[in-house]
Amino acid sequence: MPEPTKRTMTLNLSDEEMRVLDSLAERKDLTKTAVLRQALRLYQMVSVRGERGEKLVFENEETKEKAELMLL
């Protein structure tokens, strides 16, 4: 499939942020660029749905305990 046009930007991260990015890339078997792209997709979805009045809820698979993520 033809590649869509891509733009390049420089990103400044702290050591801790870079450690988290490295760790996520390894655990998810992704490049660091792909992790950040996933983060942007997720943040956009959460933001749009939050603006619509929807809630983001985490449920523990075993206990069925639910926790709502508060969006500020």
Binding site: M1, L30, L42, V48
Partner: protein
Amino acid sequence: MSAEVSAVFLVRGSTDELVPAELRDGIGELELQHWEHHWRPYLIERVRAMQAQGVPRAKWPQQLHWNWRLKATVAEMFLGQRGFATRCEGMTQGLMLVGLLSDARIVEQRGKPLVYVDYLEAAPWNQSSLQRPPKYRGVGSLLIHAAVTLSVEETFSGRTGLHSLPQSDTFYRNVCGMTDLGLDAAKQNLRYFEMTPEQAQVFLKKGR
């Protein structure tokens, strides 16, 4: 939205000849008009005929209630969703929506991202349960190929997952070579299938 277009082939059902077709990255207004003005009337006519013949409801096309205009409009708002269409001889022959924010369930892949096929539908005249021979064959394989290719491009290693309508279980198991993870009570008891990176390599080597 201007769609990226790739040249592909479908197989004419009546003669087995290859027919040039297009794979379009995006679902546009023309595809939605084809769905509204050609797919829907055909599907409704076939269901009426089935009803008149006393065919049980369980054997009616299971995607009857899908509203592609609504689905495509919502998907267009999100970076995490992508639409695909295939067009042949001027008519839309298949539509697919995928999500990019799901994780694999197979134990050894668990937690790693995959392309999740939310919806995939061939035009009703391409479904062998509705028309024999179908007008074109290969629409489902072509669209799954697009989903797996996207997974590779996204560095998801070809991992692809979906919940199958019962009429399509055999296709995903035997033609696509996906692993059957059983019925999913959380998703209307539909069967969940997943393709590992190794299965994706095998599937892509077969070509579209």
